[in-house]
């Protein structure tokens, strides 16, 4: 329960961080909030030569507005996102989900960027980010590139962030006026999601005009329930209509089996939680 020793650098700019990353290569680990990395190091599941701490790079912190997007710096803590009126107003689904991440202590150090790059399929930020069609700003020695949410999550703990690159921000399209709900199923409060469903919908005159649904822990990456989204469009926001549309929530998923549930149970939960999330998001 004590980490193997490592070298530590704390650059103060993205440029310096990239340089440090280039220099260290494979032997480096990037430290964001450390709420997942530190237990991993302490269990000696990973023993990097060098840890590059992004915590002193001010340009990576904070929430701002850029036209139709809310921009969240990768090193913004969960707590700061949770407290952000901008996020609450334009991307309330993210606020919902972050209120369910681990416990308050973890939320004060854990960062949104760190969680997204760690890409644990049971983590709570991926599915809402996916549902909100977030753009991921990735910076490398060659400059900045933007990756669509659909292309960001590649596999278990694998993302589009390449070697020598950093996730520097996410750009969340504004969903102002959309209803939202993150339905998380756990047995005790601070647990990782057994299954969770992120739903945000735009209701127009009692009818669902648009819907975005993300699934947590239903496969090796966060997933988008596009079949459900399509089925919901044009439907009345009633229990029966939503139930019918959400029956397909687990279609095409490959959920894990573990101590808290087998894949059948998770498929079942996905349909139930999708229905609950959509109904709540639609204000039904």
């Amino acid at each position: 329960m004590i980490p193997a020793s490592f070298d530590y650098v704390a650059p103060t700019s993205v440029a310096d961080a990239l340089a440090a990353l280039a220099e260290a290569g494979d032997d480096a680990k990037v430290l964001a909030g450390g709420q997942s990395l530190l237990p991993i190091l302490r269990m000696r599941l990973n023993a990097p030569e060098k840890v590059i701490d992004l915590g002193r790079i001010e340009e990576l912190k904070g929430v701002s507005e850029d036209g139709d997007h809310v921009v969240i710096g990768a090193m913004t803590t969960y707590a700061d996102v949770l407290a952000s009126d901008l996020v609450r107003q334009h991307a309330g689904l993210l606020t919902d989900a972050i209120a369910e991440v681990a416990d308050p202590q973890i939320r004060h150090r854990g960062t949104v960027g760190g969680a997204l790059v760690h890409a644990d399929p049971a983590g709570d930020v991926g599915a809402p980010a996916l549902a909100l069609e977030t753009e991921f700003v990735i910076t490398g020695s060659g400059g900045e590139r933007t990756v669509a949410a659909a292309d960001f999550f590649q596999d278990l703990f694998e993302t589009a962030v390449g070697e020598g690159e950093l996730l520097t921000a996410i750009r969340v399209p504004k969903h102002t006026g959309w209803g939202h709900r993150y339905e998380k199923f756990v047995r005790v409060s601070h647990q990782w999601s057994i299954v969770a469903v992120a739903a945000t919908v735009r209701v127009d005159g009692g009818t669902i005009a648009e819907a975005r649904i993300g699934l947590t822990n239903m496969g090796s990456t966060p997933l988008r329930a596009t079949a459900v989204e399509q089925a919901l469009v044009g439907k009345a926001a009633t229990d029966e209509a939503v139930r019918e549309a959400c029956a397909a929530a687990a279609e095409g998923t490959n959920p894990p089996s573990d101590l808290n549930g087998d894949s059948d149970y998770r498929r079942h939960l996905a349909t139930v939680l999708a229905r609950r999330a959509v109904l709540a998001a639609a204000g039904a």
Partner: protein, 825 residues
């Protein structure tokens, strides 16, 4: 403030220190000690082929590395089997460091001592142990099968088979108008105190003395064990339990390997050495409990009265049996609860598996027994279509039948004889508290809202305050300060407070003047330990007796000095005065001075005492032949048998018709531990027990895979209830004094957790309409049971008053459901 101490909710004395971070737990001591760490077996069953340390030797800060072959004399012999029993025919214990074979993942193989823990763990990682893998025996089914053996010389993996029978069970059941059979299963859990174990040892080479600090529930036990292992005179070893961050049973087993090895290393190195268990070590190398398969056959009459009860169970004792078979013996006897079983037979097998060992966890076998009996009571009620509380009450032992002898031998080897208890009164209180008779209406209303709710009940009797003895010592200083010591230890039970209350009450002093020390072998070398809900009963009564002795002596001396009769004196706030004439008085401090003929006038009290000094009688020695100097008293309390507390719990749960999530809506407790010393502390103990019980019912289990790896050895995966999972607990008390001891008290420590698993199983069964027979239960398990129930593989309860809902699956449903539902599938 001296007369009403007993029974008052006095705020705890230890608290100002503890809330400000001033508690001194084991790892808070020994700041400059060398640190030990252990290489532990990664395999459940293997032979050690080779241990290679050469890569580790050049680590800066390494002090030493030891394996079994380095351990001399008794240090290298197996650890003691603490509590032998004639039926424990194949008891086995481990070596402090594994010799040739390892029998569970986590068994210590190599000890490393280094400058600090960081270095020690680096060294551990560089040590390579080669193993030859053996077939692991995991789970009760595999242990019973016996085709693979944990210990080559233990056939069938059976450590013990024990049978007790009262009456002719086969005849009683054969003659009974109704019979039922139940197969039950209860899984492993663990104490999991927030502070793990830990040992710090200091060797004083000038005096040849060893001082051990251990996070233990028995400092006298550790002291004696280490003295024996290290071949030291008892007088040269002392053991102190500092503040202990929770025990719940796991710290009563002793000596743990580390409790032998760390003192041994400290003496060898002539340096202070410390080991603090980390959380993973606590999971894989401390101890677990629960873990039984049970088969029950019961015969009963038309009224639901039990005529014959036949219980067989198989108990998983893990890889070794250092603590004997206490847990299964308790299950087999305490299973009976508040009931008369008619004829009773219990046969059990305690089995070895290649898993971490099993020693008592709060409740110590009782939760398993209560589960067996209470599931049986519910089954009888259901078979006959009777109210579940009514069936229980028809089987109760009545107050008029006390004391009630079951004709069995209890855990202490003495007759299982209940001393007192008013079970009908407890049940009446419980029914009133939970609203038993109004539940049908509540259920109807809930069902109309599409909610599924159930009511559960569970009753238990707990033998508390088992012997053999505890002692109390009281010494009053010339300042009037009252020093109290008792040898057993504290892990948060508020002993400093309850014991001070007893002394304040018995002596007639202010509680502020009373100072209690527990768990220090320097102050009270004869003691047993804190377990089996025995501290208040045993030490409380010993301290009360000691206080009465001191009081008598103080009155005798004062009567002499004041020239009155002792009967005419009273003690109020530490002042001895003549009843009705408070002007004639002297303080206890003054009496303390007078009690010691070595009366240097070093302070005001000593000067004041001289005015009472009578004329010396030169024909007598300064200390009379039948007297001792000083105002001290000591006594021991050693009861003929345990005293039996009882309680009854009820819960209302809601099960989500779709996700099968279980929520506890209300949890009600009626608790009878005799006369209460401090109701606030009793309440806290009950709450804590229920919280752990809720964990055991809904969340906590130890999940081993077939190879004997513990899959959930962290707080991320072993789920324990937080504030958000424990319901508000409603309590009410009954105080049926014990006739067995001077204070009329019974133990309260374990009570809260005993029936919770049974109560929650009862409530879920009631909500679902089929019997729950395996606990703990998770949402996915309940969801699967619903599907099996729907397929007809699990019978419906007959007496269920509501329509069991169809199972909810993920399949889309096209027609409206027939039963009203908040949320149709």
């Amino acid at each position: 403030m001296t007369s009403q101490m007993f029974g008052a909710p006095v705020k705890r004395r230890e608290d100002p220190r503890l809330v400000t971070g001033g508690g001194r737990y084991l790892d808070d001591l020994g700041h400059s000690a060398l640190a030990a760490a252990f290489v532990r077996s990664p395999h459940a069953h293997a032979r050690i082929v080779d241990i290679e340390v050469s890569d580790a030797l050049d680590v800066d800060g390494l002090v030493g590395i030891w394996t079994h072959e380095d351990l001399p004399g008794r240090v290298g012999e197996p650890l003691p089997l603490l509590i032998p029993h004639p039926t424990l025919t194949h008891g086995r214990t481990q070596f402090a460091l594994a010799r040739d074979e390892v029998n569970y993942v986590g068994e210590a193989v190599v000890m490393v001592v280094a400058r600090d823990r960081y270095v020690a763990e680096d060294v551990c990682q560089r040590i390579r142990v080669d193993y030859e893998l053996l077939t692991p025996v995991v789970g009760i089914a595999n242990a019973r099968d016996g085709s693979a053996l944990v210990h080559d010389d233990v056939p069938g993996n059976v450590a013990c088979r024990m049978l007790q029978e009262v009456g002719d069970v086969d005849a009683a059941i054969a003659a009974a108008p109704h019979t039922l059979e139940l197969d039950l299963d209860i899984e492993r859990s663990a104490c999991m105190p927030m502070e793990g174990k830990g040992v710090l040892a200091r060797w004083d080479s000038d005096k040849g003395e060893l001082r051990i600090f251990s996070s233990t529930q028995t400092s006298t036990g550790v002291r004696a064990a280490v003295a024996a292992k290290l071949d030291l005179p008892l007088a040269k070893v002392e053991c102190i339990a500092p503040d202990v961050g929770g025990g719940f049973g796991v710290k009563i087993n002793h000596p743990w390997p580390e409790e032998v090895l760390i003192p041994w290393a400290a003496r060898l190195l002539d340096q202070e050495v410390k080991w603090t268990e980390d959380r993973r070590e606590h999971f894989i190398s401390s101890a677990h409990e629960r873990g039984q398969l049970q088969q029950i056959r019961v015969g009963f009459d038309d009224d639901g009265r039990v005529l014959g009860l036949d219980v067989k169970f198989w108990h998983d004792n893990g890889a070794y049996t250092p603590y004997g078979i206490i847990v299964p013996i308790i299950t087999s006897t305490q299973l009976l609860g508040p009931y008369k079983p008619g004829a009773y037979r219990c046969e059990f097998w305690s089995l070895y598996t290649n898993t971490v060992l099993v020693t008592p966890y709060r409740g110590a076998g009782r939760p398993q027994g209560c589960f067996a009996m209470e599931r049986t009571m519910d089954a009888i009620a259901d078979r006959l279509g009777l109210d579940r509380a009514e069936v229980r009450s028809r089987n109760f032992i009545l107050p008029s039948e006390m004391p009630y002898d079951h004709g069995l031998l209890f855990q202490d080897g003495r007759p299982l004889k209940y001393d007192s208890g008013d079970f009908p009164a407890s049940l009446a209180k419980l029914k009133a508290l939970v609203g038993w008779d109004d539940f049908a209406a509540y259920r109807e209303q809930a069902e109309a809202e599409g909610r599924r709710v159930g009511l559960g009940i569970g009753c238990y009797v707990e033998g508390t305050g088992v012997g053999p003895y505890e002692g109390g010592h009281i010494q009053i200083e010339t300042s009037g300060r009252v020093n109290v010591s008792t040898g057993l230890t504290s892990q948060g039970q508020g002993h400093e407070t309850s014991f001070a209350q007893i002394v304040a009450q018995e002596l007639g002093v202010s509680i502020e003047d009373v100072f209690v020390t527990t768990g220090d072998t320097r102050r009270m070398p004869y003691a047993v330990g804190t377990f089996a809900s025995r501290a208040a009963v045993m030490s409380g009564n010993a301290i009360a007796l000691a206080a009465r002795n001191v009081r008598a002596k103080a009155l005798r001396i004062a009567a002499d000095a004041l020239e009155v009769s002792a009967e005419d004196l009273e003690i109020v706030d530490g002042d001895i005065r003549v009843k009705g004439a408070p002007g004639t008085h002297m303080t206890l401090g003054t009496v303390s001075v007078m009690s010691n003929p070595l009366r240097y006038a070093f302070d005001e009290a000593a000067k004041a005492a001289t005015q009472f000094a009578g004329t010396a009688d030169y024909s007598k020695p300064p200390v009379a032949d039948d007297d001792e100097p000083g105002l001290e008293g000591k006594d021991f309390y050693s009861p003929t048998q345990a005293t039996f507390a009882n309680g009854m719990h009820a819960a209302i749960v809601e099960t989500d018709p779709v996700t099968a999530e279980v929520k506890i809506l209300r949890y009600c407790v009626i608790h009878d531990c005799g006369t209460m010393i401090n109701p606030m502390i009793v309440e806290g103990q009950v709450h804590g027990g229920v919280a752990q019980g809720v964990g055991g019912a809904l969340y906590e289990r130890m999940v081993y895979d077939d190879s004997g790896q513990l899959l959930n050895a962290s707080f991320m995966d072993f789920l324990m209830p937080y504030a958000s999972e424990v319901p508000h607990i409603e309590t009410d008390h009954l105080e049926t004094p014990s006739p067995l001891n001077p204070l009329g008290i019974k133990g309260a420590g374990e009570a809260g957790c005993i029936p919770v698993t049974a109560v929650i199983a009862s409530a879920i069964s009631d909500a679902e309409g089929f019997a729950i027979t395996s606990m703990p239960i998770s949402p996915v398990e309940l969801w699967e049971l619903r599907q099996r129930h729907a397929r007809g593989e699990i019978p419906s309860l007959r007496g269920t008053r509501h329509t069991p809902s169809a199972p909810v699956t993920s399949a889309p449903v096209t027609s409206a459901p027939s039963t009203p539902s908040r949320e149709a599938p």
